[in-house]
Symmetry: D2
Subunit: 365 residues, 4 copies
Amino acid sequence: MITTPIGIAIVGFGYWGPNLVRNVVEHPEFRLLGLCELDQVRGSHFAARHPGVRVAPDLEQLLLDPRIQAVAIATPPRTHHELARQALRAGKHVLVEKPLASSVDQADELIELAERQRLVLMPGHTFVYSPAVNKVRELIRSGEVGEVYFITSSRMNLGLYQPDGVISDLAPHDLSILLYWLERPLARVSAAAQSIFQLGVPETAFLTVSFAGGATANVQVSWLAPRKLRQMVVVGSRRMISYEDTSSDEAVRIYDRGLDFCQAQAPATFGEYQLTYRSGDIVVPRIEAVEPLSLELEDFARAIRYHAEPRSNSALGREIVRAIEAAHASMERAGEPIELAIGSHPDQSRERALVDRSAPAAVSC
Amino acid sequence: MITTPIGIAIVGFGYWGPNLVRNVVEHPEFRLLGLCELDQVRGSHFAARHPGVRVAPDLEQLLLDPRIQAVAIATPPRTHHELARQALRAGKHVLVEKPLASSVDQADELIELAERQRLVLMPGHTFVYSPAVNKVRELIRSGEVGEVYFITSSRMNLGLYQPDGVISDLAPHDLSILLYWLERPLARVSAAAQSIFQLGVPETAFLTVSFAGGATANVQVSWLAPRKLRQMVVVGSRRMISYEDTSSDEAVRIYDRGLDFCQAQAPATFGEYQLTYRSGDIVVPRIEAVEPLSLELEDFARAIRYHAEPRSNSALGREIVRAIEAAHASMERAGEPIELAIGSHPDQSRERALVDRSAPAAVSC
Amino acid sequence: MITTPIGIAIVGFGYWGPNLVRNVVEHPEFRLLGLCELDQVRGSHFAARHPGVRVAPDLEQLLLDPRIQAVAIATPPRTHHELARQALRAGKHVLVEKPLASSVDQADELIELAERQRLVLMPGHTFVYSPAVNKVRELIRSGEVGEVYFITSSRMNLGLYQPDGVISDLAPHDLSILLYWLERPLARVSAAAQSIFQLGVPETAFLTVSFAGGATANVQVSWLAPRKLRQMVVVGSRRMISYEDTSSDEAVRIYDRGLDFCQAQAPATFGEYQLTYRSGDIVVPRIEAVEPLSLELEDFARAIRYHAEPRSNSALGREIVRAIEAAHASMERAGEPIELAIGSHPDQSRERALVDRSAPAAVSC
Amino acid sequence: MITTPIGIAIVGFGYWGPNLVRNVVEHPEFRLLGLCELDQVRGSHFAARHPGVRVAPDLEQLLLDPRIQAVAIATPPRTHHELARQALRAGKHVLVEKPLASSVDQADELIELAERQRLVLMPGHTFVYSPAVNKVRELIRSGEVGEVYFITSSRMNLGLYQPDGVISDLAPHDLSILLYWLERPLARVSAAAQSIFQLGVPETAFLTVSFAGGATANVQVSWLAPRKLRQMVVVGSRRMISYEDTSSDEAVRIYDRGLDFCQAQAPATFGEYQLTYRSGDIVVPRIEAVEPLSLELEDFARAIRYHAEPRSNSALGREIVRAIEAAHASMERAGEPIELAIGSHPDQSRERALVDRSAPAAVSC
């Protein structure tokens, strides 16, 4: 039996929208039925190439169409909450670009709305569908990396200036990857940010993020760097992993070198720790070449058809909104660290989903 | 007229000492007369190859020798203050490895001691003699970089475990380079650190350092990373510079690409900023191949002979001790930022030496 | 006044055909009217996405359509001559993938046919439209490189096995670039080739190519290398250039380092040459990001509309066929060098077009 | 029982001599007793730092010293034969820099002289002691690479101008590595060379070298390239290996990607070969950091003490001289290939030593 494709409308044909359109058109699970775009030039540019798709400047018109079962929102962050709410109220499944909303309260409202109507609400954290990101996750999960000590991340590029600032714009990528890799809730966030051109709109920020159980991350995000840099380093007790998003062919490198600290039999004073240096090979694993957005759409379809939880789910989206909110609070207090209560959400199971983490590999001597 | 070489003794023949010995022996300005080394095996290993040099386990013995005019100290940080004090009291010029001392109070004591006796007290911030570091400084000074927005630094490697922790061990390198490049005093420091193996001895730390006048730096230091990483990125209004210490031949890269923000005639609301992307060449300037330590010794000799201020002077050394102290204080308060009073030192001229900075290049449209 | 797009048919929808289709569809100068494809599966795959385009397994049918003014041929090399002849006889302008034909005789027949009917016959040497290749050409033309001493080229990749062998498949790329850069006729070709899997079908070959006036090139081509390698190095009296096709962002690097040989006043014996080493910067020039195939189609359109000579013209295509023929002859004689007569073609002006080369920059001391 | 160090004299303190001196001085197996250097400035520079070593402008003087048992020759190639003969006649063991001699006849004379007196005659093919070169050899020997199809080598750098030309100067490195890896005799050599500055003294050459049993190599050597390039690629039926001499930390890379050709059940026509692409990981194996010259000296000592054959033996040295001779002959005939008789040497066992090669790994489907 062949299933009917899911009727979908896309909201926003700006920076990310065309990627969504291209992937939706090519995806057998979806049928593109509508585009909502305020800008007339963009709208008619789209219309010329997609004669069968209805183009409207207003979402409400499209929501009336009963063939449209799902809506994908690719508009500026400030509009996510309002547009997602409209779509959910109209009984549509929603895929919304990151971040899910501008505040935890807004996110909770959307989550509740979706749950009440048994609709899918999925934030578009595309990186959790990246084959390279998943390769690193496997290496962490399997114990190959050992206990993760710390992670550094640099995400810099000449960026589009957006009123929400670079933390809202870029840090959700790092946070989604970190949460997906570590599978632990956030414990503490601090952020030092810099605004050169417009007061209160940071273009550069340095975040320090602590996770329950001890791992720490340092995240550098900036719109001002002329060289594209998307580099993460995971340092664990057994191995180090580097991951560069820009290098397609050799994105992940596994360093089988490390430092073993072994406690001597009867440790009394400092210096009784023995150091053993391991010095081994580097492995560059083969990474499958699949477009993450295509896998994300597949997961969205699966979630709609089977009422399944997508990999990029609303609990993850909410946790990231919570971190962004805390980062902004820290930024305003000149970098003071903000503690994040674990299990703050009424539905504790959401937090738990993030915590089921196998015990870290012990350091053996 | 040929000048007589300066008689010198070296204290410590551990990790850095052999480098000092090799450079002193080859340097025409110095004559190595003594080595102080507690460890008998190391001492006799040295003695076998340097028959003319006196080896003693105790510094006092060597200080009695009137031919020894200068002492170079390459021992663990905790011993710097005591050994430097001993040498200064005996009327010797002192070159001491970084950091100058373990606290600002200790540093001030040494500085006063040296000034009273008109002796050279020089901390060994070797990086300020690195041709690549000086190339970047020229590019900043000449206005080519424009206004420096921010600097990131990653200094990671499998490290020797030292009781003073990674901040004392590695961050002085970053701080000396940052202060030497920016020529402005520090304004604020925060540090999030991680101790896995011994409570209170951080192996990894993330520092955020703000400078008077607005530039910010993010510094990642760690002993736990199996891949050597010594990478700094300077982002300015005109150009970006990357500097990698490990890549000898192409250490410095200048990116003539950037983002110009130009205010429209009558800016009223957000969005009236116009963005202009410049997209230009990358230049890898030729860097002279000279060993920094050799230049450092030359500067030490010059300072002794002409009562001149060395490039790596005690004011720089003290500022770095102050920053390390503040970083440790922040670390103990879970990363809370510590404000650093500008001009806190009794002798204001020291601070001033750091501030004479030419006005940043304006952003022209 | 708006010009009507040129009606075009594409022959072959295998490896290269889809690239042609995509570029033709997006190009305002052309209108895709027909596709000729023997394979029914490929043909119907195409038809499903391009409802307005006529699909036929036979070229003759399409050639009858008077709206089709031009034909682009993307079939295996062995079929080029026959298909191009058919199209030219039907009065169509022809763009044919490299190589132009399988022999010089075939090439001459096509050239004559096209000239008689004043039709464009253009071989698809796409690399001469590559912005990076053109950047290197500028550097040679302007005298910045100085006299070109030699060029090396490695073009390796896991390849599609074709009955014509790797020399016909890959070397035309190197030869087109070399001829375009040096602007001199070929003087001598030798080729050592290796056939592992099928007698007489080389998968790997090493060519040495000498040009009139002294420059030499060494070309390594192989289908058997698992790492993609497309690297050329130009060594001249003033500068060295490296060009890597796979690295998009830093494709061209200019090394301002070199060796100057200066003759002493009265050179009598060896050793009176003085060596001066220049040691300078490396520059990575900005290269425009434009798809070469799009520029190639633009040039095809221009040639059709204005009876202009395209950059990738039939004289270039013929010279490459001549070189491939010679390489195969050398290969069969175990690598014996084959002399190529300069000006062997009846129409001498064709050769001349390749020779108008400004005098090499003298080596000054 | 402690063995007495071997008394040794070094001839030549120019480019390579200082490396020999440094390694001999540090080596427990040798005691440096004499240096022969024509140039007075160099000689006295050496004498100032090595008070116990006798310095003479004439080798004969040193050969009279009975404590000197061995002589290491680091002079220009043209002088190797004469100096080695002198030393052998005086009953000294000889380590001579590559190439062993300027002709096969000269090499044979030296080999006979050494054999008659049971002295060690060892050419200094240092690369066969390189840990990276040995790693690649292991990978070939163990069958991991499979059947070696071809090898490319680029060895370029701004070079010292020598009257013997670049083939004598650089190609011995490639040839020693190729023979050491493949363990098969040479079958055919061709060389295209270029002389810009002095007639008959090539600065750039492209060699094609065929080995008994089918493997082929392409070797590019040049003194004129401003960028140091020492890169070899080994393509085999199972894996590809790249080896870069300049990159210390990641010298060897193993590509587990490849192309399998499998014959169909009843192969009748072309096209019945099936292609299977393997796409796998890249491994960068750990390479021990040991100076090859130190291992070479150890092997020299072992050969002297135990009458053992050194790894870099005179048969290897002679084969390389034979190849260089053939390359020059080919060069003079504009690149005509020169066949090399297998087993041309009176003592066939020498050739055999090069041939004992385990059967190539079959290509399995």
